[in-house]
């Protein structure tokens, strides 16, 4: 079964007369790593807001994990997002007044499903958060108890990744998560989340204007003039 199935989707913002996304058809398999490339203003953010169910398309349908998002109410979509989708922003991913640990646990705060998944594995959410943080190289009391604003940008993005991954969501969406990092950090961040997603079988949707890293993904699409164009399907995905 596909993780995401989009059929004949068209979308335009209220008050604008031209559709930003037109007639998009795409299926993404479970566990697939997809790179979506697009210049700013190409509709990347709109596409993501449709995928996470913040907005609904005017025509067409989006099916995520077998659920038709356009048939759910706004509250149901919020709940669906909380339970099944991890999200990483470009920058400033963390709530400034929460500790590193609390930022990670935020996902469990709003999703009983994710919390229960952790509890069923015999762990407490705090333990799981610490384990994930350690897996992403964030250990030690110093980091865990620092103000999140005192962390380096790279560390902040890794905390955000932990928050997105905790409680094993099926889909991870990363919206330009590396654009605020330097080159070394970009590479290690991409390799980290690819590795984590492979490890847990998470479907990864990675959005960026920077095409340098597309070879690490199963498929690459380009968002151009409202269309999602399949650009390449590397014979051999380069593993990082």
């Amino acid at each position: 079964m596909d993780a995401i199935k989009i059929k004949k989707l068209s979308f335009q913002w209220k008050g604008q007369n031209k559709a930003l996304l037109e007639n998009i058809d795409i299926s993404i398999a479970k566990g697939e790593h997809v790179f979506i490339q697009g210049k700013s203003g190409s509709g990347k953010s709109s596409l993501l807001s449709l995928l996470v169910g913040i907005n609904l398309p005017q025509t067409g349908s989006i099916e995520v994990l077998g659920s038709q998002l356009n048939k759910l109410s706004a509250a149901e979509r919020d709940e669906f997002r909380a339970n099944h989708i991890g999200y990483i922003f470009q920058m400033f991913n963390l709530v400034p007044y929460l500790s590193v640990l609390d930022n990670v646990l935020l996902s469990c705060t709003f999703s009983k499903v994710r919390r229960d998944k952790i509890l069923r594995s015999g762990k407490q959410p705090v333990e799981e958060a610490q384990r994930l943080l350690a897996e992403l190289g964030l250990t030690g009391d110093e980091i865990l108890h620092k103000m999140v604003t005192e962390l380096s940008v790279g560390q902040q993005q890794r905390v955000a990744a932990c928050r997105a991954l905790i409680g094993s969501p099926e889909i991870l969406i990363a919206d330009e998560p590396t654009s605020s990092l330097d080159e070394d950090a970009q590479k290690s961040f991409i390799s980290l989340i690819s590795k984590e997603c492979s490890l847990y079988g998470v479907t990864l949707i990675f959005v960026s204007h920077d095409t340098r890293y597309k070879q690490y993904f199963d498929r690459t699409f380009e968002l151009k003039e409202g269309q999602l164009v399949l650009e390449n399907e590397p014979q051999n995905k380069v593993s990082v």
Binding site: S45, L48, S49, V52, I54, N55, A74, A75, D78, E79, R81, A82, N83, Y87, F89, Q90, F92, N93, L94, V95, P96, Y97, L98, D102, L106, S107, T109, F110, S111, R163, D175
Partner: protein
Amino acid sequence: MKNMFKLAFKSIKYRKATLVLSIISISMSVLLLLGIERIRSRVHDSFTSTISGTDLIVGARSGNISILLSNIFHIGYPNQNVSWETYKTISSKEQVQWSIPLSLGDSHKGYSVVGTTDDFFAHYEYGNELNLKSASGEACVHGMHCVLGASVAIDLGYKIGDELVVTHGMGHEDFIKHEDEPFILGGILKPTGTPVDQSIFVSIYAMDAIHSHFYGQDSQSYDVLAGISHNHIEAADHHDHDHHDHEAEHAKSPESVSGFLLGLKNPSDVLNVHRAINEYKPEPLTAILPAVTLIDLWQIVRPIETTLIVISFLVLIVALGGILTNLISTLSERRREMAILRSVGAKPKHVFGLIMLESFAIILAGILFGVAILYLVLYLSKPIIAEKLGLIIQLGWFSTDELLSLATIFLLGGLTGIIPSYQCYKNSLTDGLMINK
């Protein structure tokens, strides 16, 4: 919900530097509102119990309020006096337990001089059954001794043994001074917060004697004065405090009194006696129930009360405006935070609730802080207020009115929070997960 509280709490803690100002401004308005309310209700209580143990105040036929004003507050003169004979007749009615004659019209440096008897100090009550007590000297007015209210003594700086000359009429201008017959200061009363503090008490017999002497109406005036003085010295020697009867026997009775206070044996007789006095045939009289007339009189200052309350509510609104601007000004920088919360599955109602919780928490903190300051201020100023104003401020629990004000503040503050909360709610709906704004 517990998580929302935790979030709101942490958010407030994070923003404490700016929020402290909001909390302080709220607590100041709470302090002002409750402080005014508490002083107002104390002043009201103290005013309406200016005179409490007295069942009836009697004067010549006149309006209720004017009898109260002239006899108790010493404002204005009674048009007519009551004859001594009538006073005696009514005081000797069987329902009457005690009576105190009052003679007004003289003054000393602007303070009214009240001619009365020692019964005044025995039976006059104010507040919650409080008696007059002397701070120094003795509270008795036989012979040429006089007793000063607390404020008079402080303002004029008199000490026991000083001599006072009484002026006929009111005012500082010395129209007619009874210079040849000075009174000797025998006692100073403790503060009461009533017009007693502003009064000088002398013997009604001595007062009458001075007047008779001055106007030359009585050929025997010298003898009268001599009799009074002599009598007092004799009495003082015997330390006999029930000697006013002797005095009354020896001294000539005054021809009339300005009014008199009555205490009844049985309070249930009040209405009967009241009617009997108002229907008294030989002389037109008016009797008033002090408690009732005091409340009527208080109605006059009602607008001032209302103004005070309105002012403190305006102050509150300004403080709430402060919170509002504070919350709204942080909203644009919080859009990112809201997008993060939305990304982990927070619903718009959570976003709304978070800001609401925060505004309620700020108000609550402001209220608690304000109440704490109020009690601290009251506690520290209690002795000073009691000393200077004669007002005894209770540190007790809140009155219903105060609880109502607090609830109003809490609700108004919370409702103020609706504006930023709604704005944030709307932002988070349109922003969604877009935070690149």
